[in-house]
């Protein structure tokens, strides 16, 4: 199993929570946004020196990644809003994009879509270079699963239904062919499991209360590999929710953990 964590840390110094989460969920790769509060050498020590931050020639900007040392992983590209990585588990080769798109308050959907188009172009270039289409995009998209940024051909072109992507991993629109991603979120959102979203917000007059801003998208090749995804409401015995919303002193976002089965 390949276990991936994404967490927007709200610039809080929460190394103990991160270490507990990584230990409890046997995380292989952890991607973080708003990570400036974390002292990574201290986090690495708390993880027994078994994990390391994957740096490259350029400093991280919006996202950073920590991975277990037994994984062959390297950073391929750093940009203002996302980083690209390639890694090999021995079973499969993957491309991973960790993203933190522009926030809703200060930027428009068009700004996010411009970044998404750039990201897609770079993912496709890397898929050609590495001859690998096991691509994963994970992060804080600052957009919801049904939002234009996710569903439009000019955005991620992410479909929410496995049936659709299994039929074809591309679609045609106005004489152009667009590659698709699969967004598994619909399978996991549930009142039964209280899997509502990653961010709680009631400031708008038409608030949805819970927003799934932190998501994972995969190519068709990995659509059947996703065994589980969850927004964690607890880490070991520690509750991440106070009353109804995430505890801001930990983070305003709940962590997202995704498990992928490697043999499929």
């Amino acid at each position: 199993m390949l276990n991936i964590l994404f967490w927007n840390l709200n610039r809080n110094d929460i190394e103990d929570y991160i270490a507990e989460c990584i230990g409890e969920h046997e995380i292989d790769i952890a991607v973080f946004a708003e990570y400036e509060g974390v002292k990574f050498p201290s986090l690495e020590r708390k993880l027994g020196g078994k994990y390391t931050r994957i740096t490259g020639i350029e400093s991280d900007k919006k996202v950073t990644l920590v991975a277990k040392k037994t994984l062959a992983i390297r950073k391929v590209q750093t940009t203002n809003r996302y980083n690209l990585y390639s890694f090999d588990t021995g079973v499969k080769k993957y491309i991973l994009a960790g993203v933190h798109l522009q926030d809703i308050r200060n930027y428009s959907a068009a700004d996010r879509e411009a970044t998404i188009r750039d990201l897609k172009s770079n993912i496709e270039k890397n898929e050609d270079s590495f001859k690998c289409t096991n691509s994963i995009v994970i992060g804080d998209f600052n957009a919801n699963p049904f939002g234009h940024e996710l569903t439009s051909v000019h955005g991620f072109n992410a479909v929410l239904y496995r049936d659709i992507i299994e039929k074809s991993d591309t679609n045609k629109f106005e004489d152009m062919i667009y590659k698709r991603f699969y967004n598994p979120i619909l399978h996991y959102i549930s009142e039964e499991t209280k899997m509502y979203g990653s961010l709680y917000n009631t400031t708008n007059d038409d608030t949805k209360y819970w927003y799934c801003l932190d998501q994972i998208l995969v190519r068709k090749e990995l659509a059947n590999s996703i065994k589980n995804m969850q927004y964690l409401r607890k880490i070991n015995a520690q509750n991440l929710i106070k009353s109804v919303a995430p505890k801001r002193n930990i983070s305003d976002h709940l962590p997202l953990v995704v498990c992928l089965e490697e043999t499929k």
């Binding site: 708390k46 027994g48 062959a72 588990t89 021995g90 079973v91 750039d118 152009m176």
Partner: protein
């Protein structure tokens, strides 16, 4: 009555049209110089950024498009004497495209700038943020201005070459090229070792413990964790298929049934392409009671100390499986 020509062919505005056709040539030469300077370790590409999807490959010629749209077999397929499929849409010649200049190795890409360019100047260059901060003042002194989106606006070839020279000689770019050259050398070394030794084990605890043992022996195998005995045979087949040249060790806990575990596994996977290590009863037994009832995090935090203090020679004598593991790692 003769009407006035509104084309403006006679006035100076035609002289203001400065073509950008030399830019691609200049950039391709810069790519070649970088390749030569780094002896092929680092290279650069100047190419159109493909942002939208690909054109449908089924529609190859304009005449096919016309027939498809009109479903009319008698549609005109020439304009004058020129077949439609040889006519070029003149607006395509002018249209602005966006190019990227990226510095590469086989495993890393760095976009130094993008360039919005049509057939005539001005062109607009968006330089990577840090380099832009370094060069913006000098650019400004040379009369090259930026717009509100930090695109620098270049009016002619001379200004383009000035800007390009400043950017390519920026200290960050120099640093990146040096570091990329070094990384190519160290990656070649580590790639040789990365998938040499692969250990497939049942669970995360096994990985943590065996990795600590490997670290003590200065060895860095890749681990594939099956997350359960039932998954291990499928995983081993996949790993072997992908890594035919690697040495593969499969570590399984016997849970008290060594012969049965071995027979079951060999029945599913066969006997070739890997070494099988069956541990009686489980990997943790090598260090019991030190690791008993540890949480995953506690195991991560303490295993190096526990393994560091362990006497490997004694463990080798006590456990055949431990001896077999060390032989694999030491090979």
């Amino acid at each position: 009555m003769k009407n006035e020509s509104f084309w403006g062919f006679d006035n100076s505005s035609m002289d203001e049209l400065v073509a950008t056709d030399r830019i691609v040539e200049v950039m391709n030469d810069q790519c070649k110089y970088l390749y030569d300077y780094t002896q092929g370790k680092v290279f650069a590409i100047f190419d159109v950024i493909k942002r939208e999807g690909a054109l449908l490959s089924v529609i190859k010629t304009m005449s096919e498009v016309s027939k498809y749209v009109s479903k009319n077999a008698t549609i005109q397929d020439t304009v004058g004497e020129v077949p439609i499929n040889e006519l070029i849409d003149a607006s395509d010649i002018y249209c602005e495209k966006e190019y990227a200049f990226e510095i590469y190795t086989d495993t890393y890409r760095y976009r130094l700038f993008s360039l919005k360019m049509a057939s005539i100047y001005p062109v607009k260059m968006k330089i990577e943020e840090v380099v832009y901060e370094h060069v913006m003042n000098e650019l400004s002194l040379r009369g090259i201005k930026s717009d509100k989106d930090k695109y620098i606006v270049i009016e002619n070839e001379e200004s383009f070459c000035d800007a390009l020279k400043l950017v390519l000689q920026d200290k960050k770019v120099r640093y990146i090229i040096n570091e990329l050259q070094k990384s190519v050398l160290s990656e070649k070394e580590s790639d040789r070792n990365v998938l040499d030794k692969i250990i497939v084990c049942e669970g995360r605890n096994d990985e943590i413990i065996i990795d600590a043992i490997a670290q003590k022996l200065n060895c860095k195998p890749i681990f594939v964790v099956a997350d359960g005995k039932n998954n291990i045979s499928n995983l081993v087949s996949n790993v072997h298929e992908r890594n035919a040249n690697a040495q593969i060790l499969v570590v399984i806990d016997s849970d008290g049934e060594e012969e049965k575990t071995k027979a079951l596994f060999e029945k599913k996977v066969g006997k070739d392409g890997y070494q099988l290590l069956i541990v009686n009863n489980q990997v943790e037994d090598w260090f019991i009671p030190d690791v008993e009832d540890f949480s995953k995090l506690k195991l991560l935090q303490t295993i190096d100390t526990i393994v560091g203090e362990a006497e490997f020679d004694e463990l080798r004598k006590k456990y055949d499986s431990f001896d077999k593991l060390l032989k694999f790692l030491e090979r």
